[in-house]
């Protein structure tokens, strides 16, 4: 099978879905020039009516997409940088996320929000480096965070076809990654996690670009005879709770490896879910290895100290393993 970069996989999903359904439009900043590549060629293929460059008015174009969806279109809204959701936050969490229920089911909002370079790295500093998915999860958005090109295409297709608002996070650190991607359009279903590596000693729940890091740590620890089970939720909401609990039960020891802030973050949700649904199977404290609760500092050594690291993960794995449960 041919290999594509993550951004190319996204581009192919955009291309194939927009070709399939004329109701799909894509809206955002600098979409037409396709700076990074994921939107390249869309203007040529689908024209300016469906491929729309907006002013720097995120709240405006998110609300615009809501209205367009209420009137029958299927908008894709692209955020150039993930943390730009903040300037559109009311239109996202207080409008789009709530209208279907508040209106008693009179409207469906088939909107896909793609959040680019989520989490960033390498010096983009405090305001451009958040992984804002915990905010969007708390608001009830369906959220996917694919860790490979194959899943990026399949989950983007599923997100676009879902009749509800879906947030698609493209982590900065996987965008250049290459991997095998089927040519035809296909769906990776929402709400289904995947075991990325089978193990017996400790279960690591890893999200987005950290899945790759977790697998590397697992390889390393395997040399010491530690068998790590790596599970990727892929969809953060709806969460594959059965898959999660099954992964936890396998080892009874869980470390959550997540690059969003710690307090009220996604790792907290995973831990709380396990406390409720897998308590009897837990043989050690569930540990969170997350980003620290601060904006990402600019300087390399500080950045490194704030984001979750393979070292921290390895240490946490050893710690839960040492725990006599």
């Amino acid at each position: 099978m041919r290999a594509l970069r993550y951004l190319q996989a996204m581009n192919e999903a955009y291309q194939q879905e927009m070709a399939r359904d004329p109701a799909i439009i894509i809206v955002g900043e600098d979409i037409r020039s396709g700076i990074r590549g994921e939107t390249r060629g869309l203007l040529e293929a689908f024209g300016p009516e469906r491929v729309i460059d907006t002013p720097i008015s995120e709240a405006g174009f998110v609300g615009f997409a809501t209205g367009a969806a209420m009137a029958g279109l299927r908008p894709i809204v692209q955020f150039q940088v993930a943390s730009l959701v903040y300037v559109a936050f009311d239109q996202l969490v207080n409008q789009a996320a709530k209208l279907p229920l508040m209106l008693g089911g009179q409207v469906r909002l088939p909107i896909t929000y793609t959040l680019m370079v989520a989490g960033s790295r390498g010096g983009l500093a405090g305001q451009h480096s958040d992984n804002p998915y915990p905010y969007l999860l708390h608001a009830g958005f369906k959220v996917v965070c694919p860790s490979t090109p194959r899943e990026a295409k399949g989950l983007l297709v599923s997100a676009i076809r879902e009749d509800d608002p879906v947030v698609f996070l493209a982590p900065a650190l996987v965008l250049a990654q290459r991997g095998e991607v089927p040519e035809e359009a296909y769906e990776v279903p929402l709400g289904v996690g995947e075991v990325k590596r089978a193990g017996t000693d400790v279960t690591v729940v890893a999200v987005g670009h950290l899945v790759g890091e977790a697998l590397a740590v697992a390889d390393e620890l395997a040399r010491e005879g530690i068998s790590v089970h790596v599970w990727d939720p892929r969809t953060l909401l709806p969460l594959d709770r059965d898959g999660l609990c099954a992964a936890a039960r396998r080892t009874g020891r869980v470390v959550i490896y997540d690059d969003s802030n710690r307090t009220c973050g996604f790792a907290a949700e995973i831990s709380a879910t396990l406390a409720e649904r897998a308590f009897a199977d837990l043989r050690a404290p569930v540990k969170r290895v997350t980003r620290a609760d601060v904006p990402l500092p600019y300087s390399a050594p500080l950045e490194k100290a704030v984001v979750p690291s393979p070292d921290q993960l390895a240490r946490a794995i050893r710690a839960v393993l040492a725990h006599s449960g």
């Binding site: 009516e49 907006t54 002013p55 008015s57 709240a59 405006g60 174009f61 998110v62 609300g63 615009f64 997409a65 809501t66 209205g67 367009a68 969806a69 209420m70 009137a71 029958g72 279109l73 908008p75 009311d90 239109q91 207080n94 409008q95 209208l99 279907p100 229920l101 508040m102 209106l103 008693g104 089911g105 009179q106 409207v107 469906r108 009830g140 369906k142 879902e162 009749d163 509800d164 929402l190 709400g191 909401l237 709806p238 969460l239 709770r241 059965d242 409720e276």
Partner: protein
């Protein structure tokens, strides 16, 4: 003073305005009686704006509304019994009891919903209008908002989107001089319609107590939008006779004077229009009384309908959050 409008339209405007007024008066009573929960933002005094603007719209045109939305819903064709059922929290209501006063909507009538957040409906009107433009079906979207909304960022963004893409949107600013207790003159150096020029959009002001003037201004703006002429900003100078919301009647607030209120009531749009219908010879006193009587009946029946309607089932509380649900999503608060 003569009436320059076709008879059916002229009569319809009176009926609609009267229906709105009486609806709001009954709603206030039902709030006091605790039959309606929460608060309602009454439209009393502003009836000519909703009635005049919506009379210029087709059924398949769209409106976005505000926290003070009852008048818009009625004017766009909303049925008062489904509205009251919603306000009484019944499953027969427009939103199946999920929305209440601040979110009441009827998508089938192009009523995209009241909105609890000031200014939030404006970009949605742009999105709907964009769809209309793509489809080339000459439909129009009207966005209602108050004077207080002109200082909210998202309204600015929406006005610009409509302008640069020549969208078929009419922005209707209901300037009733206050945002709760805050006077417009204290938060804006210019009048709302004077903001339009900044976007390259025509802006005009009209007497919001004169339903004919409102209708004519709206009809022109709507027609312009239909023909592809782009958006227009129409400011309607109006006034709310009562408090910001039902709860204000129990507060001692002094942000406006009794004289000011009385002066505006003097110019009441409904009474004025009723008088003009008679002066113009379209109606006599009996016709007017009959019209009022019909309104009383419609409201009485609506209240009866609402009261007789069932409450929603607790078990359905999470319904409609998603069109497609998954195991455990949305989550209940306790397992």
């Amino acid at each position: 003073m003569a009436v320059g409008l076709p008879r059916t339209l002229a009569e319809g405007l009176y009926r609609r305005m009267r229906l709105i007024r009486r609806f709001e008066e009954e709603v206030a009573a039902l709030v006091d009686a605790n039959e309606i929960a929460g608060v309602c933002h009454e439209y009393v005094g502003q009836e000519a704006v909703a009635a005049g603007v919506c009379a210029a719209l087709r059924v398949d045109d769209v409106i976005t509304s505000t926290h003070r939305g009852h008048g818009h819903v009625i004017a766009k064709g909303g049925e008062v019994r489904y509205m009251l059922a919603e306000l009484l929290g019944r499953v027969t209501g427009y939103n199946r009891g999920r929305g209440g006063s601040m979110h009441i909507a009827d998508i089938s009538l192009g009523i995209f919903g009241a909105n609890g957040i000031v200014g939030a409906g404006a970009p949605m009107a742009c999105g709907a209008a964009y769809r209309f433009k793509l489809a080339g079906d000459r439909r129009v979207a009207v966005s209602f908002f108050g004077d207080g909304a002109v200082n909210q960022g998202v309204l600015h963004e929406a006005l610009n989107l409509a302008a640069i893409w020549d969208l078929p949107v009419v922005f209707v600013c209901e300037n009733n001089l206050y945002a709760i207790t805050t006077a417009l003159r204290a938060v804006s150096k210019l009048e709302p319609h004077q903001r339009a020029a900044a976007y390259g959009m025509p802006g005009l002001a009209v007497d919001g107590m004169d339903v004919e003037a409102v209708y004519l201004a709206a009809a022109a703006a709507v027609e312009r939008a239909r023909q592809g002429g782009g958006p227009t900003f129409v400011e309607c100078k109006t006034y709310r006779y009562v408090g910001h919301y039902t709860a204000e009647r129990f507060m001692k607030l002094s942000y406006r004077s009794e004289d000011e209120i009385a002066a505006w009531r003097q110019r009441d749009a409904i009474e004025t229009w009723g008088r003009r219908l008679i002066e113009a010879g379209l109606w006599n006193g009996e016709d007017l009384a009959a019209a009022d009587q019909a309104v009383e009946q419609e409201i009485a029946q609506a209240i009866a309908f609402a009261r007789a309607s069932p409450w929603p089932e607790s078990a359905s509380a999470l319904d409609y959050m998603y069109s497609r649900t998954y195991a455990g999503t949305p989550a209940w608060g306790a397992e």
